[in-house]
Structure formats: C-alpha cells, structure tokens
Symmetry: C2
C-alpha cells in the first residue's frame, strides 16, 4: 500500500510555507513564498499556488493549515488575524472544494506545538510549547493532542499578569508578560533605558529611533552592560511565568521557540535560573526544558500532524 | 438489578468522614469521627470503624479515599501528609484486603474537585476547583476526570509567584499566593498591620497574640476598615492568580471552596473584580465563577466518584 500523503500549510504574516509529507512526517516537497498581503484573495491564491507546486499529481488524504489569530475551528473560518488584516475567511471550505479532501485549521502556536511534539519520544503524552517573538503564546499538548480548553483559548501565556501596574498591553490589561518580554516590549524598554543613560553604547542610536529586540541582543553579545541587564531582567520575568505554568500543568517537558528566546543566551540562562529558583525542587526535577528543533519548519510539519490526527 | 454501592472516605487532619452511596451519588449512610492522630494505626482503625458503620452488611463495589499531602497513586500509598504525621502507608492495600474490593486513593483537593464537579450539568467536561483555606490548591477536571499532569503535581495553584520578593513560603520560594492569601498568611499580615495601627480596633488583640483569618473576617463584618482593606487586598491577589489560571486553562467554570474565600464577602467581591479587570473580555465572558455547593461533603462524595470512575 502506498504511503498516505498530507499537505501542511504554515500561513504567516510574511511567508507562506507549504509541505507535502508522508504520515511518517517525511517531507517530500516544500515551497515557500512571500505572503501576498494585498487582499484576502491574494493570500488564498498564494496558498493554492504553493499547494499546487508541492502536490503535483500526488493523491493526498487531507490538508492542515496553521494561521495566526483567532479562528472558528468547526466552521474552518479564520475570524481575525491582525497581522493579515482579514475577517471571516472560510479557508477550509475553499481548500476542500478545490482539492476534494478534508481540510483543518488551527492556531499557529498550537500547530507549532504539534510539530515540535512530533519529534519527541513516543512515550511522551504531554508537553508545552512556548513561543516568544513578536507576541508570546503557548501551545498545550495533552494526550498527544492540542488542548483547547472550554472555548478554544487555553494557553494565553502572554497575558499572565507579571506586574499589576506595569505597561499597558494590547489586550487592555497592565503588566502582561507580552507587554514586558515580547520583542517589541524589549525594544521599547531598551530605548527608554538607553535614552536615560549617556554611558551606554546604545544611547546615541536610541536618541535617533526605537531599538529592536534583535539589536539589543547584538549589543549584549558585544558586552554592552545595559543590554545584558535588560535581557537578564526579561529572562527573569519569563522564568517566573514559566514556573507558574509548570506549577499549573506539570507538563514534564517545556519547549521554547521564537527569536527572542532562541537568540539571547542572557535571556535563556536568566530564565532557566529563575524557573529553578521558583519551583519546588521535586517539580523542577521532573520537568525538562528544551529549545525548539524545527524552528521555522515546526508550523508546516505541525499542520501535517494536525491533518493526520483529524483524519485518523 | 440492585444499585451498585460505593464507599467514599474523606480523611482529614481533624475529621474522618465516610459515606455509603449509590452510583448515582445518593448517600445511604454516613459517619464522621474525629481523626485519631496518635499513630498510623489509630488513623487506619478509625477509617475501618467508619466504613464498618456505614456499610453494615451491604455489598460494595469499590472504595475511594481522599487524603491530604502527596501520594503514590499506583501503589496506593500515602507518602507524606504533614497534617497527619505519616509516611508510606499502603492504605489501598489495607482496605482491599479487609473489604475484598478495589480501593483507590487521591489527593483531597482533586477529590473535592470531582465531588463539586459531580453536581454540575452533564454537558460540562472541564472545570477547576480552587480551595482557599489553611493552604491553597486547585483540582483540575478535564474530560470529567482529575488531570494529574505528567508526574501528578498539576494544580499547584498556591505556589504561583505573586510577589517576587514577597513573604517566604513553606515551599522555599518567596511571594507564593499561599504565603499571601491562605488563612495563616492573612492572620499574620493582619497582626502585623494592626500592631502598627493604634486607631484599629484589632490593635489591642494583635498586641496580645496572632489574629486568625476568621477573626479578621469578623472584624471586617463589624466594619473595621483595616480588616476590610486587608481582605480586599487578599482578594485582589487571589483574583490575579485566578485570571492567570483561566488564561492558561480556559476551564469554562471555576468553583471556589474553603473557609477563607467562602466566609469573606470582601475577598469574594475584590477577587471577582480583579479577575474581570485582568482577563480579556472575550475570555471573561466565557467563564463562570461559582461557590462550592457541597462544602464539607465534597471530599466524601468526590471519593465515591473516584471509586466509581476507576471501576467503570
């Protein structure tokens, strides 16, 4: 019997990455294009184009799609993707009609969690995937499946309140983890700190424009003390939130992805030290902390896992 | 066919409460005695005595036991119950041998969660039960079952870090929710506050001895401003932690038990106001907050549910 094939689509704000893979997650073909943000139609045409390119004349069993923002899973509708500027697109219906196979949609962080989980030991049932980039979110895997909670919003890790009177978050609350430790928040805080500190090598640049989290990490690699201090502080905030999450879920494994946490050893080390300090030794000892393996591929591979789980 | 019968035992630090109930959770007989803390033997003799009393000559299908502290579920062993002063008691084996039916053991907060969940609507799959008393803990119900996490420690709600440099907790961390908002912490903080405030009607008593959380709640009912202020602050801490938990689990329903949260309207109202302020409106709107219904009975009823779930 021929191996069953699946399509996995990772629809991001800048790139659309699509793979054709076997049920064993072996990638047969892949195609990445820039997401054409002009309109809903151009985004969807881009998806079709990548699927046509990787599929060729192969027979597929199902399609999985990772999308940012909120969605209506049962109706297969992407309700709101701020980075995409779209509302209520019946994505899975459009895909099912064109390719005559079932199509499934899931939030990008949850799909990345499935992707990263797929390369873990078979004996593992639970894990949490934490992404720290432009935003902060978590995908919760329980019994090898995405855990959605009662209404599909489980894993709002970026909105844990870390400082009751802290900086205003996009969600309306103050002091959310995302408003302190996501990339834009790191850049904004570094700019503020550097403007007030003439002795910092970030000072001149900060007077001209906002620093980015990437630049702060570069300054830190160059030995800039203020940058290191800020990234360590950021790591401590992340670590405290991770300890809270481990206390509540006892996940056994926490996988970290996203540029902010993967590109800064200062954040990584301060985060893990804080986690260790906050957790009871018995709970710390039973939890593993790892970096994402697939990085940019976890979305597309996770979308294949999603399609496979839904059709088996 | 005769209805199947189960025994549920709620083994507490002060009382042992045992019920005989049908699979429909109708209580046929119940017996409560003071837990005889002299030794492991006297505690276990007390359990036997209550079971003998409620069982009579009825045929039972299984026994469920709620115990405080850590336990080894597979071996049926209570490893550590600080309030009981015991270690490694093979409780389920002793019960199975004597009554010739399977016996199951679970942490008291998790069992109370099962008990409270049993009187909810059939359509409900998930809920969280939060107990705020001498300690603070949460029992997580997912797919109608206790969620244990990877190593059995899920739901360590009392050890969320609320104040990174706050009061030392028994667990070794600083600023845990339990070190701020559990009964003893409320009493200790009230004593400290009242000693420094001659204008408070708690002042004279606080100079003599430590206040209890119960006394603080009584002062607040009498209109004492410092007590009200302290309970409202406590409610805000609890609310912030509850919002974190809802963000991570999206449980749909949060049930509150325990004397601290049930006996103080100041805590209750400040807590719910804080939850509302912290959560995104869409998440707040999809979550219900309720007080425990069974109160003192949730442990024994939950132990019956445990026995029934494990044998069906």
């Amino acid at each position: 019997m021929a191996l069953e094939m699946y399509i996995g689509v990772d629809l991001g704000g800048t790139k659309t990455k699509t793979v054709l893979a076997t049920g064993n997650l072996e990638i047969i073909n892949e195609k990445t294009i820039a997401t054409r943000m002009d309109s809903e139609e151009t985004i969807i045409q881009g998806i079709f184009e990548t699927i046509d390119a990787v599929k060729g004349r192969k027979v597929i069993k199902a399609i999985g799609v990772a999308t940012p923002g909120q969605l209506n899973r049962e109706a297969g509708i992407a309700i709101q993707a701020p980075s995409m500027g779209w509302h209520s697109v019946p994505l899975t219906r459009l895909l099912s009609e064109r390719y005559q196979v079932p199509a499934y949609i899931e939030n990008d962080i949850n799909v990345a969690a499935l992707g990263e989980f797929s390369c873990q030991d078979e004996s593992l049932n639970n894990a949490v995937y934490i992404n720290v980039g432009t935003g902060i979110g978590a995908g919760i895997i329980l019994s090898k499946q995405v855990f959605l909670g009662n209404s599909g919003t489980a894993g709002e890790f970026g909105h844990l309140t870390m400082e009751p009177g802290g900086p205003l978050c996009k969600c309306g609350n103050r002091g959310c983890l995302e408003a302190i430790a996501a990339g834009p928040a790191i850049g904004a805080r570094a700019t503020q700190w550097a403007r007030a500190r003439q002795d910092s090598s970030m000072h001149a640049l900060a007077l001209q424009r906002e620093l980015s989290a990437k630049e702060v990490a570069e300054f830190a690699r160059g030995g800039e003390k203020l940058a290191i201090e800020l990234l360590q502080e950021t790591g401590r905030y992340l670590g405290r939130a991770v300890a809270d999450l481990v206390n509540l879920y006892d996940p056994g494994l926490v996988i970290f992805g996203g540029s902010v946490v993967l590109n800064s050893p200062d954040i990584w080390e301060a985060m893990l030290a804080e986690v260790k300090m906050r957790l009871m030794p018995i709970i710390y000892a039973q939890t593993e902390f790892a970096k994402a393996r697939f990085k940019g591929d976890s979305g597309a591979i996770g979308a294949v896992v999603l399609a496979k789980q839904k059709t088996n």
